[in-house]
Symmetry: D2
Subunit: 106 residues, 4 copies
């Protein structure tokens, strides 16, 4: 799927509505936390959640994340790969395997 | 960015550490909210944030989002596009243009 | 325990450090969300949490809530009682009893 | 406010509805984060918020906090005072005065 760009689609939707004026990095960080709360609400009282509701809330979190990355000139795939390298370093396979312990307690 | 293309890299890091046992949808939803709080902390006392810190925290939110999408068999790019179509419908250009008002108050 | 006031103790700690300049309502709302994320982190991978860690994080959430109430001239006990009355109205005992269903789906 | 004094009122509302079965510590921690997100939503696009909406959302955060304290046998007033003592120690007046810097960077 290289024919289109998800970020470009988001940018077009925002531009049509002249919404970028509201999308300061701080407001986008707040928006990500707000939407993450709505996603969590799908799991508030039990571990099973309605997939359709999860789909919509997860999309909202992702969309604000892409807007923040775009606003700060960051490539979302690249920052994920960079952080994966950090995580691999902090959690060596031999000590972290099968454990949910935080790195500073390994 | 054209689209998210790093899910396989994330899956490999997780598989090496045998961490998928911890990655129930509910735990991933909690993790997204936790990391969204850490991202917000970059903006706690002012609107300017250290870009390197933002980069790492945003990567964490995105990584857990991609893990949740993968766990639920959802294509992250597709759910974003599907939600964009919903947003376009709820916020028509002529009434939403230049306003941050929520759709139910437009 | 009417000899002292928790809010006064918090206010004194803040005044000594000249921190009220940072405590805009918006910054306090961000701080509550950030600390709520740290509290949730105690439960990230399982349902059991270290009570000492929970105690500290819950105290942080409560402290920022009291600072926000104080800043906005709200009495925390009163707003809780007011909201309880609303909740009793939205969730009548006969329909809500033993169910976690949201009021708009009851 | 002298101190929190409404835990019994909250407990009565919950008992009438037989809701304590849903109020595991983990579910309450999720609920605090969810409500903190709704409180933050009052400030999503600007620093001014509707006081009535803030009042209701802040009450929700506080109510779940008091439920969690009660569930874990913690006195909400005491844990706040205990944490204040910790904060005073981590942020000495002479170095922390007028600065929003985190203790580990002071």
């Amino acid at each position: 799927m290289n024919e289109f760009s998800v970020s470009d689609e988001i940018a077009a939707m925002v531009a049509e509505r002249d919404w970028s004026q509201f999308h300061t990095p701080e407001n986008l960080a707040k928006s990500i936390a707000i939407e993450a709360g709505e996603l969590l609400e799908c799991f508030q009282w039990n571990a099973d959640a309605d997939p359709d509701r999860v789909r919509g809330e997860l999309a909202d979190v992702l969309t604000y994340c892409l807007l923040l990355a775009d606003r700060l000139g960051m490539d979302p795939n690249q920052i994920i790969l960079d952080k994966l390298a950090v995580t691999r370093g902090k959690y060596p396979v031999d000590t972290a395997r099968g454990r949910s312990t935080k790195y500073d307690a390994l």
